[in-house]
Chain length 434, copies 4
């Protein structure tokens, strides 16, 4: 039998708190899970700094990746199988793309990508196509199979239907992370009837569509997504951790550029600092490595690096106020001056951070980020875009919500042993008593 | 107001998936949570290597410690308060001891304690009594408060009732970890009606007793405990990870003793290797530090250290068979010889590991580990030991169950490119085909 | 001690699947639960005919009433107690009003109220004020206590704050029924974080307000409510059962007015038929009595009564199509004629039924049904109406959604042994094949 | 296509709180659910009088029957299908037997069967074989299909494997009712990992066996069963309701035999009273009919019938004490005399009731009720009886537990307006104060 078709002698299962069990029959999937690039995802948290607010959020990208695989497996094996518009030969491609879609994530991805200006999707491609265990397994299927998988993840594949399973406004990726993040944080948002949604999914030429009878479950999914964004993902305390993390990376890079002599050389970071990370170096990075450096950097001479690392590890976070950069620009400039006068470097200690989300959008061709709309399949065969059918979705459709916060170290401002006047002025401007 | 009595202006809550919310009103508790020794527990997994089998088990000792605190808080504030045999002045002592009971745990405690022969309880005492942020907070309550808390945790305090809240055969510690570990692993064992148990707890002179009407909930707890031990805690695959972990530590220590030249000096381990870990060094250790070393040790020259680290990080675990050391001793000795002949060091690659548990025991004075029995308070006022009342508990009471497994690297044995004959003999003895 | 203050020697608990336990310490509450008027609620389903669609929905108004009591108990004892704007002397009034608010419900209330044109709230008042066991218990508190409780339920009391606990757009009644109905039907809608909502409730002069920090939980509640209405309460199959039920009552009344000779005299219905139900008669009615009549009426000579009863008991329901009475009036009139021609009485067998809901509304003084808006208490002390703060609530606020369906017996139309032509014409008009 | 093979054009689903969804593809199953004999199960509670203690326990035998069907469907379609020892032609037989196994249950079965001395299994057979809608549907499969289904339910079929799916010590019936009853009562017992158990079930020649790897899930099931029996099914308060129910039936029968003139003739009971219930009459009975009679009998002249009906409907239950009939026989006789002297008929008001359960039993050939043991399939192919492998099951195996209670109306004894002396003596003997 060909490797692509090979089944395990006995089905393997992973116990999973979200999907109860994750089922593996395909040898290819089993072998991919065993690669070191995939095992590395165990050492990368799914939610970065969210654990600083929701202490349960310590789950890894490893479990999320398995979850996305399981959802796609159920769709193709339990719902699509045997339907006319589904090509069974796309099954393995779908499963592999689902399992590997997050493979390029590094530790604390958002901060790293922002500071070092790269995209984890670049590394996902690189791992799949490069000299890796994952690539070796995929090549056993066929010489061009790694490329096919990579194209689905990159959304450049011509297999639009397969792409829509893992990247659309309602896909296996989003469904798994909403349910999983809700479970581990313990919030009561984030629940929706995934089983119902799966049952009403139907393959169409270039996109998954949803039988109209499942519209309310889809509405519920969109509301869950909205709540999770504002309640969990954009939680201002987690963002404070994120801000500090970025500033640590920023400072370390700056020090490196200034030929600062580290007591503990940032060997694992050098190529990142220099803007040309190699795949091999990138794969060395995981959260234990990053945290180790933060740990030893608490002993560095540079007061900023040392302080920020201490803050991150011991959760001495920045405080925040609401702040509108458009209307309060002058106040911001004034604060920059006062921070400088007070001896607190505003580049690291006065940080404006914004979050923004669009809960659902219909199709706006030509706009910056084209989003495929969710399509309903009506009982008469017609296809209708969701917001034309659902009043509640129409009501929120296309409405971007943005939130700005200004972060600063309240503890330093409260210490009036030095620069009392400046600090008092700062606190007054920030609207803080005492 | 005294610091001991100080309340936060507004109650703080932690969202917790197990107890829904964890409530903090006391300034002392809030300050203890903020210490760096307590925050360090975020970087230590509650279940060590269990995540290798149950991928959800990535939760930390930080969340467990908060959970134990919350259970004790409910007992003292919702159940004991106002009862004659409860001394309200023991409240804060109970809460602090609950919160801090696991403070001395290090990364992968069991393996470290076994290899380096120390007890985490020693460090719990040291942190509470030593030069630490925790000690500073506790001393604000009163000069002898650290000592009081330490004595409750060490079970040497004369406050027997307070001790029994956190260390007995049914206590807040066990209740939290059973529920929590069940939640994060996703298994369906481990659930019992904690709310019912809390409601029937009654303070007695030197021990918590349980109203007879709650006996079935207590039975259910004991069964849950039994199932969790054998289904989760002693899972043979997690034990395989544990075995490899021990062997890594063992090897690194041995190399250090042999003046091996590490490419990456094990600075953080030196005092452990030399048998005299200091508090300050111990507090530097967390799982990110340990994993960092395992990471870089994959580059060492020593083939054993390098291989074991690779195995641990990439989950290339040992396989196992059932093995009775009492009756199969000769076979074991034979295997040792054959492993040596095959060039596979049996000290590191042929490991016998045993698990053993006693689900419940009545009181056997004078025996090695005296266990306080669970006492029921009958409606007529009489106190009866649980196993005298519950047939199901009587049936399993005092019955120790032990399980032995022999671990080995199947992959090396399957590689017949060298020492084919020896490896075939080994596989035959182990009862393995191919 | 006064009866009002009397506590049970030992707290009583009811095991409840929604709130885990319902706690009773007050003698008054315990005695009210034991009255026969309250026990009668065990024989009245919470969701009328919904069980025909969701077979789990067999729970009674008894359990819902206990649930509402428990929620109010938690609010007043755990959240309001000790706050300045809360008058502790309103506690018992609040608990009693919560427990008794649905007391006047009869079997299948909606159908009965519609056909016989009365309001269950009339009977709630009558039971509380009349010659009943409930009245006897309440009078033990004080002579005017029954009146006070009745006024809160009737919303005529001057205790606006107490009223808002059980009758507002977010109250204990709605919170319990959403959670309870979701639990028993098994749908995944209807969950929201009640515990969070309770924690942010604050007593104000004449209304409960909600701390702004809980706004998202309130949003989630409103979305749950919206989903439950359209997914469960207005489910077209349950409405089909409702339609048949109304037609049974309608037919029996008509027959009674025509001096039809029932084989089984509808003794229990006579005063209802004649438009002057007495309290004593009304209290005799419960679902077992009503179903008994339906049961024996299957043996009546009148073919319509007999058929409808058979349909209801054996779930031979009407089918339906979407139908807009405004634009399709002519078609409707045509159908009436054709039904008559086909020998199928359109009065009973061609039924237009509409459902309509307003998920949330801000205050519109002077409009038909003034609804108190939900008020948020901002951190600066300001009070803001919810839809001015929440974009998602603003988006759906005041938007009434209505749905019309036309019900008919498909089985009769498919039987072409008689009136083949007329039936074919009907089916064509209804858009039904075959 | 033959009727037996016919599939619905689109799968139907029932929303179910226990199994999430119940799936129906087979026309036969859909038609059976629509029969009036099956719909009648909606009016019969699964747990009889348990709702008097656990108010959530209002679910019907209808939902349980669907649940058992769904479990068997999963076993045969997801686990057995394609395995060598499974004969796919037994599929429909298994599904029908599962769905219909409880069809002969009447209202409050246990009380009726005890008082009128019949067995509901007799009626299950009669409904399947008699002139019923169910029989008509089954005959469409084949002329002898009703008989085959009936034999499986009666356990006389030669299809031992099919029988063991629905009647053994671990079968679909028990699994559904434990989970379902736990869900609706809200207790935390009764949960076990059914999905795991299903996955380890294997067809063998004449019995289902369980892969050894699932043994702990099976142990957990047995413990759940044990807890449910003693916590829920044998709850002494529900038994009090049961006792009163039996006494009502007993009294009505006695009055009928004495030619008592009922105001409300018990037409529906006559053939039961006379010991020869006919199928047609039996099918007329459901809980609404029975409760209707209890309702109107509250108006009878006979003081005992009237009082007992009042007690049942308004939950004025008997109280109880522990009582050992073996050792306290003299006391019992003394009480009978005193009750008589006090004017309280002991036949109706002094009732000894016993409960007894055997949590698990191995095979004891020739004993009164032969129970098939649970068999494990070991990895080496050997079959071992569960209690030989599981220490915890061995510990409780074959241990029958019995519990005796004596029930009486405390309210009558407390009324000392008459027969003060006798009542005081009674209370003293019963150990009751006041």
């Amino acid at each position: 039998m060909s490797y692509a078709m090979e089944k395990l002698r006995e089905e393997k299962v992973f116990k999973d708190p979200v999907h109860r069990y994750i089922h593996v029959r395909d040898r290819v999937i089993w072998d991919l899970v065993g690669t070191k690039e995939f095992q590395r995802l165990r050492r990368i948290k799914q939610l970065g700094t969210t654990f600083l607010t929701f202490h349960g959020a310590e789950h890894s990208r490893f479990s999320h990746s398995l979850g996305v695989y399981e959802i796609v497996r159920r769709i193709v094996d339990d719902v699509f199988k045997g339907r006319q518009e589904w090509d069974e030969s796309d099954r393995l491609l779908s499963l592999c793309a689902a399992l590997l879609h997050d493979l390029g994530h590094g530790p604390f991805s958002h901060a790293f990508e922002k500071v070092f200006q790269f995209d984890h999707e670049y590394f996902t491609q690189a791992i799949i196509m490069g000299d890796t265990e994952v690539n070796q397994v995929l090549r056993l299927v066929s010489a061009d199979f790694p490329k096919k998988v990579a194209e689905v993840i990159a959304k450049t594949s011509e297999k639009k239907l397969v792409i829509s399973l893992i990247s659309s406004q309602i896909d296996a990726d989003r469904m798994d992370y909403l349910l999983r993040d809700a479970y581990f944080t313990g919030v009561s948002y984030g629940h929706f009837d995934m089983e119902r949604i799966l049952r009403v999914m139907r393959p169409k030429e270039d996109q998954v569509v949803f039988k109209k009878s499942g519209m309310h479950a889809v509405e519920d999914y969109i509301m869950s997504r909205y709540q999770m964004y504002w309640q969990v993902y954009f939680h201002p305390v987690s963002r404070s951790g994120e801000v500090i993390l970025q500033k640590i990376l920023h400072r370390a890079k700056e020090l490196h550029e200034q030929f600062y002599h580290f007591k503990h050389e940032p060997k694992h970071f050098v190529t990142l600092f220099e803007g040309k990370p190699k795949l091999k170096d990138y794969l060395e990075l995981d959260e234990s490595v990053v945290l180790y450096y933060f740990h030893v950097w608490q002993e560095e001479d540079d007061p900023i690096l040392k302080d920020l690392c201490y803050r991150f590890l011991n959760r001495h976070l920045f405080k925040y106020i609401e702040f509108d950069p458009a209307t309060e620009y002058k106040k911001y400039m004034k604060l920059v001056t006062l921070f400088t006068d007070a001896g607190i470097n505003p580049e690291y200690y006065l940080v404006l951070d914004s979050s923004s989300d669009l809960p659902y959008d219909f199709y706006r061709p030509g706009e910056e980020e084209e989003r495929l709309p969710i399509q309903l399949s009506m009982s008469n065969g017609e296809i209708r875009e969701l917001s034309r059918q659902s009043e509640i979705v129409e009501a929120i459709s296309g409405k971007r919500r943005t939130d700005h916060k200004l972060y600063f170290p309240l503890d330093l401002l409260k210490d009036e042993s030095t620069k009392k006047n400046e600090k008092r002025q700062i606190k007054e401007l920030l609207g803080i008593n005492g």
